[in-house]
């Protein structure tokens, strides 16, 4: 699939069914609102929310860590949904959505692991524990997401790539539930605490800021998925254009 020229809307405009860009007025305002939201969360999280009684200022990392983790679940959940829809309906739209979700999920899951390690050192006394169920299942989820994208890059027809990836996406998504429930199922095999949010263990401003961070993370995910979806859509159209052009050229050479 050719990627060359995707940044040249004028050159492509004649070949495509729709606009040769990934943005729209809606995504512009969504992006602007997301940036404003990030600024708001940063101001609240760094300047307004009091330090934690035990953890001190380290607590502030939860405003990035927890939304990243839930965002990674949601984005890879979208991949699973897209995979089901591809296998069921053979819908190209859903396959592109699944791909877009996985790329965003990799980013967020990576961020979850990094922020978790940065929090773990001053809190637990270690960056990483290889036997810790929560940590290792999250790493496995990250690797599965990377594997999903690698499987897509193995090549083949668009249909075979989509089917292969859909199977990996569906099998991998089972791990979301395992990661999420691991702190309850194997409480004695992880340093990670159980959910503070669902058990109402967060206070006032910390809770408010975290909820705001969830909203902003959801907006950021929406923005990224929309752009990545449109890139995927343009790539498909470019591939189709290349095929049609090649067929026309060959027919012309053969005089038919």
């Amino acid at each position: 699939m050719s990627r060359a020229g995707t940044g040249d809307p004028k050159r492509l405009a004649g070949y495509l069914d729709g606009p040769a860009r990934t943005g729209s007025r809606f995504t512009f305002w969504l992006g602007a609102a997301t940036l404003a939201g990030f600024a708001g969360v940063a101001a609240l999280g760094l300047l307004v929310v009091p330090a934690d009684d035990v953890q001190g200022d380290t607590v502030r990392i939860i405003f990035v860590h927890v939304p990243s983790a839930l965002g990674a679940y949601a984005a890879f959940g979208l991949t699973a949904l897209g995979s089901v829809m591809w296998l069921w309906r053979r819908s190209e739209w859903w396959d592109i959505t699944a791909h877009a979700g996985a790329e965003v999920a990799v980013l967020l899951c990576g961020l979850t692991l990094v922020t978790g390690m940065l929090w773990g050192r001053p809190t637990w006394g270690t960056y990483w524990e290889w036997g810790d169920v929560r940590l290792v299942t999250t790493l496995i989820l990250f690797l599965v997401m990377v594997g999903y994208l690698s499987v897509r890059a193995l090549g083949g027809t668009a249909g075979s790539v989509a089917t292969r990836a859909a199977v990996v996406g569906l099998v991998g998504a089972v791990n979301i539930g395992i990661v999420n429930r691991s702190v309850n199922w194997w409480a004695n095999r992880t340093l990670h605490q159980q959910s503070s949010l669902t058990e109402g263990r967060l206070e006032d401003l910390t809770l408010l800021t975290l909820v705001l961070a969830f909203v902003v993370a959801a907006m950021a995910i929406w923005w990224m998925v929309m752009h990545r979806f449109r890139i995927g859509w343009l790539e498909r159209q470019l591939a189709d254009r290349d095929i049609h052009q090649a067929v026309r050229a060959r027919r012309a050479e053969a005089g038919r």
Binding site: T123, G125, V136, L143, V146, G147, L154, G155, R248
Partner: protein, 187 residues
């Protein structure tokens, strides 16, 4: 040779560029990209298998709560394991076999274990915040305060803090009380 097809081809040439089609310059040649992707897939599959095997296979990764460790002392004696409990008082800095150690007690479900820890504790180590300790049972009391008084202590050389899910905002209550005390003093 028939001229008609050649004529058609010439006509088509004017509309379509028939110069030899060369692959578009991409980030990498397609075959190389596929090989890298295949290597990544194999590496990911191997890493996932290794991690799952390690996770399922290593029983020493299980944290025994203090009450369970006491209950299963005969079974665990002589073995290295991980004990989980909450420090019940400030640790005492002392010496054991000429080495600096921390002596304290940890509790779980109303059962207390005396601990003698060698090495630096994590920054967050304090009474009331649960810890997990790697070590083994040792017969005889430790050098510090004897709380459990059962003739045993747990000798640990690795400590991690297991923070619970309670988040409490540090308010200015204590600070305000001391300010009020100072402000309320009659000179």
């Amino acid at each position: 040779m028939d001229d008609a097809p050649a004529g058609k081809a010439q006509e088509a040439t004017q509309e379509t560029d028939l110069s030899p089609l060369t692959p578009r310059p991409g980030p990498r040649p397609a075959r190389a990209r596929r090989s890298v992707a295949a290597l990544v897939v194999v590496a990911v599959a191997a890493a996932v298998s290794l991690l799952v095997t390690n996770l399922l296979g290593d029983a020493s990764l299980f944290f025994y709560n203090a009450d369970e460790a006491v209950e299963r002392r005969d079974e665990l004696a002589g073995k290295r394991f991980t004990l989980q409990g909450t420090p019940i008082a400030a640790p005492v800095n002392t010496f054991w076999d000429d080495r600096p150690v921390l002596a304290f007690g940890v509790g779980f479900n109303d059962v207390v274990v005396d601990v003698v820890h060698t090495g630096d504790p994590p920054e967050l180590f304090q009474p009331g915040v649960p810890v997990v300790l790697e070590g083994a049972w040792r017969l005889g009391p430790g050098p510090g305060p004897v709380i459990a008084d059962d003739g045993w202590h747990f000798a640990s050389d690795r400590m991690l803090v297991k923070h619970d899910n309670d988040y409490r905002e540090r308010d200015n209550y204590t600070e305000r009380i001391s300010e009020a005390e100072e402000g309320g003093t009659i000179p």
